[in-house]
Amino acid sequence: MSGTVSDLLAVASVNPVPWARSQMAFTLAFHIILVPLGVSWSFMTLIANYRGVRHQDKAALLLAQRWSKYMALTFAVGAVTGTVLSFEFGLLWPRFMGRWGDAFGVPFAFEGIFFFTEAIFVTIYIFGWRRLSPWAHFWTGVPIPVAGVLGAASVVAANAWMNSPSGFTLDSDGNIVDVDPWKVIFNDAMPLQATHMLIAAYVVGGLLIASVYAVGILRGRDDRYHRLGLIIPFTVAAIALPIQMAVGDALARWVYNEQPVKFAAIEMVPKTRSDVPETLLGHLSSNGTVSGGLPIPGLASWLSDPSTGKSTVVKGLDSVPADTRPTTAEVNVVHLAWDVMVGLGTLLFLLAVWYAAALVFRRRMPTGRWFLRAVACSGILAVVTMEAGWVVTEVGRQPWIVYNRMRVEDAATGNSGVWITFVGLFVLYAALGVTTILVLRSMSRRFRRRGGFVDDDVPYGPSGPPAQREPTDDSAKVGSSP
């Protein structure tokens, strides 16, 4: 038996590194869409819940209840895709974990606590609608966004450590002999990178949810329920957007100082120089010349350090040997992703300005069709923006998995069967993504079919449920564990 399988594996023998990279990138790209929902949706649900209970607002309460049911599904999908990622550390990058696990792993130990807390209270909140008292139920929801924020910050701390490895001592063979957990978690890159991701989570979560209700209103379901469903998340995103621009700007300057090669890829700077233009789009060819695009003279230098303006020197790709910097193709990917992130981020910011201006000058939210259409598109655009930002930080770090310490190809598994797991996961995730959307939509249709505010639909109803429900639903609700 062993012989046949080994033969099969030998036939399929291919270099695992590109497959491992593709699989990690693909599964992360998928999971990162679920992260904002996990981190920020609970917060918006609690706003609606608070409003519903405090002001006896039935529409808000119904919104909170339904959101929590959708959240149950996205949280479950996020839990399994997150598990796949933690498996992939071992399946795809065993040598990375073997060498750096004692430092890199530390933030995950704390992430575990927060994920545990989140899973517990998500469950209590989702299942607690009918039997807990309104305020007790509300408070069981409060730990969810807190744990979500801290958990996501821990994971980003680990990623930031790969950009800015610190908090360890090596012996002469390069093995870790001492670890300072505090410096590992709060590495140089962590504060800004974690903040950038968390605010992104609020922007993406807010716009994604608001876009669904914008579509609903555009399709003629213009009622209080849909308006609240748009206003609550959109307001959250609109507050987060200007903060995000400031944080992103600070983070870019950190990259300029600490990861100059990544910065050179972002700004497409082949040679170290001053008066570097900010080139919009454009293309770097393998001989090191930039063609096409729209260069804005001196802007990249000026943005890197406004105090020295156009004379700021920006290190080029040539500041390090060719095998320790991203390839030309990777530079083009990073630069394009950067333009997409900044460009779309700016558009989303302008949408938030539109909304704020209407609130300030007209004392009500804009309700024109063009505003609604823009909001309807903003969810997808926000996801694209976030994915682009993630491409910038990950591809820009190449060829390093741990910046200046370990190369990606030295970290990967030697198992030649990675292409099989990649294909398997690709098919599985494609099905998972499609099914998630279809199931969410079918839930929404069913909610809608059931219509408005029938009495029994209201949460926190009388503790004695309607008689017809007794045998089918209420008689057997117990946990499976001791």
Binding site: M97, I113, A119, L425, D473, K477, P482
Partner: protein, 347 residues
């Protein structure tokens, strides 16, 4: 310090086995519950029992992975390089299990409920087998130390691994059936209590037989673990056997509550006995716990994390189970109060 972390790891493994193990076992009973009509009642009970707790139970696995790669990175590297195939299958199975279960709750059409339910149930059998096979491979010394890969196939398809994998399925099914008896009784569903009591007894017998076969296999393939089981781990083994037998007696006498506690102890005994028998090795006879351990700074951080977890997570965990047991967390799924489509839903 490394001993302390190893104990934490073993306890986490035990918690995963007795909590999440039962969720997998429920999937096994779901799989063999028969057609949509025949299996409607047991599947309904399974769905309501597992629904509120499986995600929290699942987190133990993440915790185990994190502790292993952080505290024992070299061993982690060897294990994952060697066990690429079963762990890949387990990863796919975990995706199918969790999403299948979540989707089944969220749809009403029988056709789709069968599809998602099938994904949930089949992967619930596959994952414990793979996990058990990995454990068996580690115990029988198939994973070399020094961050190298062992044989990609023999490491998990040898006699010890296969028996351990089957044992994992049987034990999971046993635990699940015992819990489901208790849940059915609390719901005053005597027919279901009877249904799962018979299955718990069958699973217990199968698990017992597999354990005996396992001891024989371990004797030839994993002598170090066998020596441990018959010396320093002997009290744990005896405790496990006594509890398992007593649980059977209580089940026969219809004392579901006591049976549940004893069943947990019996299963926990198996895991703890394995850990004690393998001591002081993480990878038997090639890599000891203290040699594999990360620097003290890392271990201290892990211990701090565990203490924090006890302070923060444990109260939440207790709250979840208390609320679930007091039926304050009715499982609603999508078809909630007053939903006309409720009648289309099996269970």
């Amino acid at each position: 310090m490394s001993t302390l972390v190893a104990i934490v790891l073993l306890l986490a493994l035990t918690a995963y086995a007795v909590l999440a193990g039962a969720d997998f076992g429920a999937g096994f009973w779901d799989l063999i519950a028969g057609g949509p009509e025949q299996g409607e009642r047991p599947r309904g009970l399974i769905e309501r029992s597992v629904g509120p707790v499986w995600e929290a139970n699942h987190v133990w696995l993440i915790f185990i992975l994190v502790v292993t790669w952080t505290a024992f990175p070299i061993a982690y590297q060897s294990i994952w390089l060697t066990m690429f195939v079963p762990l890949s299958i387990a990863a796919l199975g975990i995706v199918l299990r969790g999403s299948g279960f979540a989707f089944r709750k969220a749809v009403t059409q029988v056709r789709f409920r069968r599809l998602f339910g099938g994904a949930f149930a089949i992967s619930s059998v596959l994952v414990p087998f793979c996990m058990g096979a990995v454990a068996g491979g580690i115990a029988s010394g198939q994973v070399p130390s020094g961050g190298k890969a062992g044989d990609p196939v023999d490491s998990w398809l040898n006699a010890t691994s296969v028996v351990t994998g089957l044992l994992a399925i049987a034990v999971a099914a046993y635990l699940a059936a015992v819990y489901l008896v208790w849940d059915a009784r609390r719901a005053d569903d005597l027919a279901m209590a009877h249904y799962f009591r018979r299955r718990a007894q069958s699973a217990a017998v199968v698990a017992g037989v597999l354990s005996v076969i396992g001891i024989v296999v371990v004797h030839s393939e994993a002598p170090h673990v066998f020596d441990g089981l018959t010396s320093r781990a002997l009290p744990v083994v005896v405790l496990s056997v006594v509890c398992g037998t007593a649980a059977l007696v209580l089940l026969a006498r219809d004392a579901a509550r006591g049976a549940r506690v004893l069943a947990v102890l019996a299963v926990a005994g198996i895991i703890v006995a394995w850990g004690v028998a393998q001591w002081p090795y993480l990878l038997p006879e090639t890599l000891s716990v203290s040699h594999a351990a990360a620097p003290s700074g890392t271990l201290t951080a892990l211990v701090v994390a565990v203490v924090l977890a006890v302070l923060v997570v444990l109260p939440g965990f207790v709250l979840l189970f208390v609320l679930a047991q007091r039926r304050l967390l009715p499982d609603e799924g999508v078809p909630d109060v007053g939903d006309a489509s409720l009648h289309d839903v099996p269970g």
